[in-house]
């Protein structure tokens, strides 16, 4: 069979397959193709498939049905991703820091430490950025999942390992963690009438 001899039939199949909103079986096609072409349908479809093999659109056979689909290697262009620089929310930073210091930690525990409920979206954002991942389930009723930081987290923050994170005492020393109540800041001296300014 020569494709050139079946140009009209191929045009018709092209149009039918293009316009259909579902893949079409040979039987579906028979209803719209002249009777004397019915026997050629399988061969015509293969011809058409060949014609579109190297195009941006391919004729695919799925089960016994045929449909045009854009070539898989061009899928990237259909779904363009735009990266948008976004500031991480305070909630997300806090959650990440709690996971870093308290891991493995459940969501309930995170909420307890933060004192507010943690939206599902917050953990999603951290997962998406690949800073955290799920750890083992806690062996308690409900078997809640725990969260731990990833290797990417260490890379991203330039840490060799988790021990590199400054401890609470170090945080305090650097002024990042200032927990002293106000009255404690009055200077003390042992000498009752000493100059304690």
């Amino acid at each position: 069979m020569e494709a050139d001899n079946y140009r009209e039939e191929l045009r018709l199949l092209e149009a039918l397959l293009f316009a259909s909103n579902t893949p079409l079986s040979i039987d579906d096609l028979k209803a719209r193709v002249p009777d004397d072409k019915h026997d050629y349908l399988p061969a015509l479809l293969k011809m058409l498939q060949l014609q579109y093999r190297d195009k941006g659109v391919n004729l695919n056979k799925i089960d016994d049905r045929w449909a045009f689909r854009t070539a898989p290697d061009l899928a990237y262009a259909l779904h363009v991703e735009k990266e948008i620089e976004k500031k991480l929310s305070n909630a997300a930073i806090e959650t990440l820091s709690i996971i870093a210091y308290h891991q493995p930690v459940t969501r309930a525990e995170i909420e307890n430490i933060r004192g507010v409920a943690t939206g599902r979206g917050t953990l999603d954002i951290l997962m998406e950025s690949e800073w955290i991942k799920m750890g083992r389930r806690r062996q308690v009723p409900g078997r809640p999942v725990t969260w731990i930081t990833s290797n990417h987290f260490l890379d991203y923050f330039g840490l060799e390992n988790l021990d590199d994170l400054p401890g609470v005492a170090e945080l305090q020393a650097s002024g990042l963690l200032d927990t002293r109540p106000a009255i404690d800041t009055i200077p003390e001296t042992a000498d009752m009438f000493g100059d304690d300014e």
Binding site: E85, L159, L176
Partner: protein, 261 residues
């Protein structure tokens, strides 16, 4: 569709029937211009060669008959009749042209133009809807994959922000249950009580300093005790319970109980 093509093929009817048919159809007309178009077509001539005078006569005849038969004609049919009657008079007596009025010929031409223009639009409307149409004669892709733009957020945070944030949580949690440490300071009441208690055992003039409690943790507490004790002695002196003396500026303060006589 069929309706439209029929409108343009209607002019095969015998002339006698025209008015009667129009009378029956009057509700179906799209206003006086539409009626005029039908009458014009019944002149069986090209609209470019139509006799407006003849058309005006036909319209006025028709309106006459229509009113005789039954009809309360819509106002715009009567307005058109009046206008055509005026036009007719202008066409028949052409020399009475007033300055600011268009001539009969100009008015006739305007009407002819309107009829031709509408006729043209109508036939083009027919052609337009006979065009091949999307979804009927040609089709778009039945099941397009669609194009999407996903905006993926890229987040940025520094180690400093992370640590600062953890510090904030810690502080917030401490503040959540804020306990005020009890002050270990001597109150005025304590000082009074202490003084009253000791007073009976004071034989004569006694330095206030020797009466102060001892073992202070800080100088702050010691100074508060001194201040409270001094206030207490002043209070008791005011009540007449003790005598106070100070022998020099900044010197020791001495107290002595007032003996009951």
């Amino acid at each position: 569709m069929d309706n439209i093509s029929n409108i343009f093929e209607e002019d095969k009817k015998p002339e006698e029937d025209v008015t009667e048919k129009l009378l029956l159809d009057i509700d179906g007309f799209d206003g006086p211009i539409d009626l005029l178009m039908n009458l014009a077509r019944d002149q069986k001539v090209d609209l470019t060669k139509i006799s407006i005078l003849e058309l005006a006569n036909q319209y006025l005849d028709f309106i006459e008959k229509a009113r005789e038969v039954r009809l309360e004609l819509a106002a715009d049919y009567l307005v058109m009749a009046a206008w055509l009657a005026y036009l007719k008079s202008r066409l028949l007596i052409p020399e009475q042209v007033e300055e600011d009025e268009p001539s009969g010929e100009a008015m006739a031409e305007a009407l002819a133009f309107q009829l031709r223009r509408l006729e043209a639009i109508r036939s083009l409307g027919v052609k337009l809807v006979e065009q091949e149409k999307l979804g009927q004669d040609f089709f778009k892709r039945g099941n397009p994959e669609g194009l999407y733009t996903l905006s993926k957020a890229k987040h940025d945070v520094t180690l400093f922000e992370l640590l600062k944030s953890y510090g904030n949580i810690q502080r917030r949690n401490d503040n959540n249950v804020y306990r005020v440490e009890p002050f270990k300071l001597m109150s005025m009441e304590e000082a009074l009580e202490r003084l009253v208690h000791m007073l009976g055992r004071i034989p004569s003039w006694q330095s206030l300093f020797t009466l102060l409690p001892t073992g202070f943790e800080t100088s702050l507490v010691a100074r508060s005790a001194l201040a409270s004790m001094l206030s207490a002695t002043l209070e008791m002196a005011k009540q007449g319970n003790i005598h106070i003396k100070q022998e020099e500026l900044f010197g020791d303060v001495y107290i002595k109980a007032v003996k009951e006589e």
